[in-house]
Each structure stands twice: as structure tokens, then as C-alpha cells.
Symmetry: C4
Subunit: 242 residues, 4 copies
Amino acid sequence: MILDVSTFSRAMGEFTATALLMIVGCMGVAMSFPDEAGFLVGSFQYGLTVCIVVHVFGCISGAHANPCVSISCCILGHIAMDMMLAYVACQLAGGLAGYYFLMAMLPAAVIEHNYPAVCVHDPMAELSNFQLLAIEFILTSVLVLGWCALWDVRNDNCPDSAPIRMGLLVTACGIAGNNLTGASMNPVKTLIPLLFDDYRGTFYPQLAGQALAAVLVPCIWCTAFANSDKPIETVHGRPKRT
Amino acid sequence: MILDVSTFSRAMGEFTATALLMIVGCMGVAMSFPDEAGFLVGSFQYGLTVCIVVHVFGCISGAHANPCVSISCCILGHIAMDMMLAYVACQLAGGLAGYYFLMAMLPAAVIEHNYPAVCVHDPMAELSNFQLLAIEFILTSVLVLGWCALWDVRNDNCPDSAPIRMGLLVTACGIAGNNLTGASMNPVKTLIPLLFDDYRGTFYPQLAGQALAAVLVPCIWCTAFANSDKPIETVHGRPKRT
Amino acid sequence: MILDVSTFSRAMGEFTATALLMIVGCMGVAMSFPDEAGFLVGSFQYGLTVCIVVHVFGCISGAHANPCVSISCCILGHIAMDMMLAYVACQLAGGLAGYYFLMAMLPAAVIEHNYPAVCVHDPMAELSNFQLLAIEFILTSVLVLGWCALWDVRNDNCPDSAPIRMGLLVTACGIAGNNLTGASMNPVKTLIPLLFDDYRGTFYPQLAGQALAAVLVPCIWCTAFANSDKPIETVHGRPKRT
Amino acid sequence: MILDVSTFSRAMGEFTATALLMIVGCMGVAMSFPDEAGFLVGSFQYGLTVCIVVHVFGCISGAHANPCVSISCCILGHIAMDMMLAYVACQLAGGLAGYYFLMAMLPAAVIEHNYPAVCVHDPMAELSNFQLLAIEFILTSVLVLGWCALWDVRNDNCPDSAPIRMGLLVTACGIAGNNLTGASMNPVKTLIPLLFDDYRGTFYPQLAGQALAAVLVPCIWCTAFANSDKPIETVHGRPKRT
């Protein structure tokens, strides 16, 4: 990691990306929470915010905005270890700043309406800790698989709709898991709101699932789905689909 | 079919793609089923999951995740017969594994809430068997037509938004047919849940419609819509639209 | 118009495209009509079906599926007059065939539930005939403007997400006008259902608005928005955005 | 600014774009307003209309349709000062014309149903003026950041899905802020409806937030996120994502 203007841009990018993810994403969730279709609106809003973040910051820092993504990126060799640590630090700081400003902008009535707290979902009571871990592992794995596909050399000719595809992926994972584990798939989104509240619910299994996915999925990608070394067959300029 | 690392990657791709289709797609359906707008959320979620699967596995195995698609792909000559059989076997195994893990992750209360079973729709009682076959044939035909267009040499310069387009296609077919036949358009999605339940409803007509579409549509595509042999006229690099 | 295999493909393409537009689009509308959010689902479904049709038939016939679009295309000089007439004839025949099969596939209970008829919207009673004409003119103009932009040489490097963009355009026009005029923006969709029903409502003003848009918009496009003759300035390969 | 046919096209483009933004966007909002999910439909419709406008007018005038965007564009040096002033004048005139025609087309019953007026949202009573300014500043900043990313040389190979990405961005900002400040993010949309109504609510803080974002965000973009001068590293033709 060379401390030049490009590294500064990237760090600022991750900071702002994560801050906006918290502000825009959680503001939408907070405004629709009391509604019974709230889990749908929340999933949709979280996906749309990921779309915004990848659109704006994709060309600056890669728009991870998620420690799991940065860890996977490092394991796959796309960024160095020290850059990954800088990314994670900026993400935590950005998430903290974003959530703080969000709390300052929302009226007290809205904040009280959101139970247990803004952007915090209590996991479903019937789930065992192992089930919580398994569900959050699966959903975070899908997210990391999406990023692995995006970084893959075989998709290098498809950068255009990447923000939309990642946004839709996050929406689908949210619809699937929002009422089960909260489907945050992001340690920043899981941890930061807890600093502001005296929360007594379960969140360790979700964190463990997220960490497991961040480490295991890139290893599986390299083993099972990696590009074989021979040059890709192309039909008229794109990888042959069969 | 040469048993090398690339064939292994493809087989693993189809296995994982179909497993995720069952897990993420059916988890979302299971969580929203009791709702009266459930058929909308279900269609949307199934479409989004297809989008995820095509995004992640499109560059690995083609992301069929559906025996009908693999059969059509083989009839059009894009994959060999033995590869097609391997694909179908991996899809069935993947669907079975995915549904099994989904059952292990969902709490019993959610599973009981889903009637007749998670990811199973009873066809509308007023429909005759012939109507069931016709509707499922039309919907699966639309799906296979979408894949035929994607594989066509004339769309080779448009791979970027393919996951989104296929996802929207599946969503539209779901909204149209979900309350009629269930609109699964996928033998794996129709059959696997029945292995876990003592289901007594109608599912043969839907399967027949799916099989018919898988065989007829590629033949129609070759006959009526095939690229004529002369080189395509292009205006500034893309096929001339008229 | 040379009667070769390519002309046959195009005619078949328009026939099938319009048939699918009626079957998939109207099936979704018919299944959600009694719901109070029906106009939303209907608009969304009509937009998604346009997305499917442009995706599948865009490379075959251009996927007009709408006489207004073919007339505009002819006025702009992209297709010849005799080809335009063949397109319109195929669209009418396709719409008729599609609606007929749809009626055969839907159970009687669903058909009766849809008032006044499947895929027919009574215009809002408070609207004068002139207002009906104006609203349908504006909405059809937006649709034709969308096609004009798609055909424009300045957008030739953007064919990829065209199906999605046209689908979203139709969705937005539907949400705006569905409860006012029905927002069909398509003479086939306006007329064909009336052949099957003894309908006594207002539909001439809408037709007049559609026809007016089909003729006026391409003229306005050529006059006000046409590409000036000097070569386009490009920045790194795409038209300079300012 | 040279007064030639290209400048005329651009001015006409901005005029028509803003007029359509008001007509199609506000028509959809007006028809769904009494519904309790109105803020969702309104946000979705505003986003879709932005998608239409960018799709149709992107190649003509850049499809700003928003004085904040034109001001930011000028600060970043993409258009000259006199062109910017012409753009803003055309946007105001277009917004006025569009809203006037919309009022003429809607029946009186619909207009009365919309409180306080068609396309006007009362800000949430609990918000202080400073909070209103802060929220509208953040949301408009996200919009301007989206445009900055679109104009950036590093995204020059991604023009295709730009209309969809901008539409989704506006949707997300609307879901977040619609019930708080109205989330117009556009001085034209904030001011024009007030000319037609005797409105006594708060709108100065929102305008101030919009103006602040239009000026500050491009400066931040240049300082923190600008492309460093060295040529971009590319992997297989696209900017290296890390």
C-alpha cells in the first residue's frame, strides 16, 4: 500500500460508501418499518442502496462497503492484506458516522417506532443458534459468490449492469432471510446499530456465519469454479455459453 | 465429454446453481406464503433468484439450473448429449440437496404454515388437465424462447444484462401463471418437493407441458426464427433493427 | 419487400410477439384484477411482458408488437411501407390468436371476475373525450419517443439493456394512466378484446390519441431532436454527454 | 454557446424532458396518492420516469431535467456557464408547461383528492428546519454523486444501463425521504407546483439543501474522488476493480 492520492481516494470511497449505505438504506427501512410489508420494502431498499453504492463508488474503490467482501477480495488476491485492513477500518468508521448522522436526522417519534432499534431485526425466536448461523452463512455466501463472479476474468466484458445485478442479489437474499436472521450479510450493518442501543438479542451466530462465508467462499471459488488455464473459447468475442 | 477440470467445474456449477435456486427462491416463498400477495412476492423472488444464478454461474456452466433448458440447449446443438445428461443429473442432485438443507434451516412453524408444502402450489381447481398442460407449456415456452434468444449469435454482443432479463422473464411468467398452475417451468422445482411430502395433487400435466416446450421450442426457433446464412447487415456494429 | 426466408422470419416474429404480449400480459392482469392494487400489478406485468418480447424478438423482427411503433418506424424510414403493412397485419392476427388461446386457457370463473372483460379497462367516468385523447396521446408519445431513441444512431452502442428500458417505460406509463384511460398505448391491445365482448364503453378517443402519437412523434423527432450532420464528438468511444 | 441546430436540440430536449418528468411522474403519483402505500408507488414512479427521461433524452441533451444537475455539470466543467443557464431556463419553462398540461388532463376529483396539491408533499411536522435541510442535502448529494459517476471518464465504457441505474437511485432516495421531506431533489419539482396553489408549508430548507448539494458535491468529487493523472490500469479492457 503506497500512501498516494489513489489510496486516499479509495479509503475515502469506502468510508463514504459505507456511510451512505447506512444513511439511505436504514432511512428507508426506518420509515417503512411499522408496516406489515416492511420486510419487503426493507429488502428492496437495502438492494437499491447497494446498487447506488456500486454505481457511484465502483470506479473509485470497488464499492465493497462490507468487511466480508474485502476479506474475500484479499483471499482471491485482488487486493493486498494491508489495503484490506485499511478498507475494513474505513468501512467501520463510515458505518459509524453514517448511523450517527442518521440518528441526528430522524425525528424521535420515528426512532421509537422502530423496535428493537433502527435497522436492527430481532431474529425469529424459533431458530436455534446453529440455524441462525447456517442461514446467515448461506445468504452471505450468495453475496460473496456474486462478487467473485464480478471479479472473475470471464466477466470482464460485463461491467455495465453490475450495480443493478448486485442490488437485485441483495434484494433476493433480503426477501429470503429478513424475517429469519435479519439478512444483514454485513458485519458493519450488524454491529454498528448495537453500539447505539442496549441490545440484548442474539447476534453472534449471524456474525459467525458472515465470517465463515467470507473465508470459505473464495476458497471454494478457486477450487471448484476457477478459470482453467487454457485460453477461453470465444464465439464472436464472448465466452462460449454452453 | 472429456472428464477434465472444466467439466468438473460445469457439473459443480449446475449442482450449486440448482441448490441455490431451491434454497434462496423457496426460502423467500416460504416466508411470504401466508400473505395474500404471496403469489406476487413468490414470482418476484423466483425471478430474482434466477437473476442471481445466471449472474454467478453464467460464466461457469451457463447457469441452466433447469432440465428443460439443458434439453433445449442440446437440441440446438450448443452442448453434446452426454454433457446434457450430466447437467440434468447434477440439477436433480442439486435440487435435492438444496431442498433438504432448506427444510433443515426453516423452523417447523414456518413449514407447517406453507400449504400443501414449501414451494408447492396446488393448481387452480377449475382447470382441466388439458388447460394445465397448455398453460405450463406456454409459460415454459416463453422461458425456453428467452434462452434461445440469449444463445443466438445475433445477441452475442449483449451478454451484460442477461441475468436481469432472464430474471424479469421468470417474474412475468410467475405473475401470469402462479395462481393457475404454480408456474414452476422447471421439472426439478416441480418434482423435488414432492419427494418430501405425501402430495396427492395434480402434477403430471405440468410436467408434460414442460417437456413438450423443451422439445418443441428449439425446433420452432430453428425453423421459423433462425439466422439466415447471409452475413447480418449491421449499422455501426450492431444488427440492424427494423 | 422480398419474400425470402428473412421476411418470413420477421412476419412470424411479429405474429408470435403480439400473441405472447396478449397471452402473458393479459393472463397476469386477469389473475390480479379483482385486487385493489390491480392497476399496479397490471402495469408491472404489461411492462415485464414488453421486456420479454423485446428480449426474444428484438433480433428477429425488432419486436414492435404494436402498430403505432411500426407506423413510426416507417415514417422514420427504418422499414419500407409494404413491410410496415405486413407487420401491422401480423400484429393484428397475432393479437387475435393470442387472445383466443388465452380465453381457452382461463377458467370461466376468472373470466367473469374481470369486469368489463379480460384486459379491458373502462376509462374513468369523469374524463371528457378530449382528455381521454390527450392522455392516451401523451402516453403513446412517450412509448414512441422511447423507440425513436432506441433506433437513433447515437444509441447504437447501447443495445444491451434495451428490453429492460422499454419494459420500465411501459410500466411507468401504465402506473400513470391505467386508472385514467387504461393506458394500452397499443391499438391491438385496445381493439382485439372488444371483438370478443359486447363492449359499449369509450374507446375511439384512445385510438385517436394512439394514431396521432404514431404520426406526430417521429416528425417531431426528425425536426427537433435529429442528429446534426457533423460527426458526433466522442469521449473515449461514446457520444459526449453534456 | 453557439446558436446552431445542436444547441436548439439540446434546449428542446431539456424542455421536453422536464415537461415529461412532471406529466408522467406526477400523474402516477396523483393516481396513487390516497393509497397508504402511496409513498412507495410515488417513489417508484418518480424513479421510472427518470429512467424514461434519461433513456430518451440522454443522447440529445444529457437529460438533466434538474437545475441541480446542470449546475454540478457546469462546476465539473462538462458544460459552459451560458449553456448551463439556458438549460436551467428550459427546465423551468418545461416544468411549468408540463404541470399546466397535467392539471388540464386530470379530472377535478383526482386533483382534490391530492392533499395539499398534486405532487406536493408536506414535510413531516416533527422535523426541524435544519433536519429538513440536512435530509434534502444528503438525498440530493446522492443524486449528484450518481451523475458525477456517470460523467466520470472511468465509467465511459458503461453507458448502456445508465437510465436504469439513475432510475433506481431516484427510487431509493424517494423511499428513504418521501415521508420526511418529500424527497424531490429537484428545485423544479419543488417550486412549480407551488405556483398553482396557495401553499403555506415549508419549502425553503429543502431548496437550500438542494442548492448546497449542487455546489458542494462536484467540489468534493474533484478533491477526493478524482481520477489521478496516471493512465488507468486495465485488466482486459476495463478499469481494474480492487
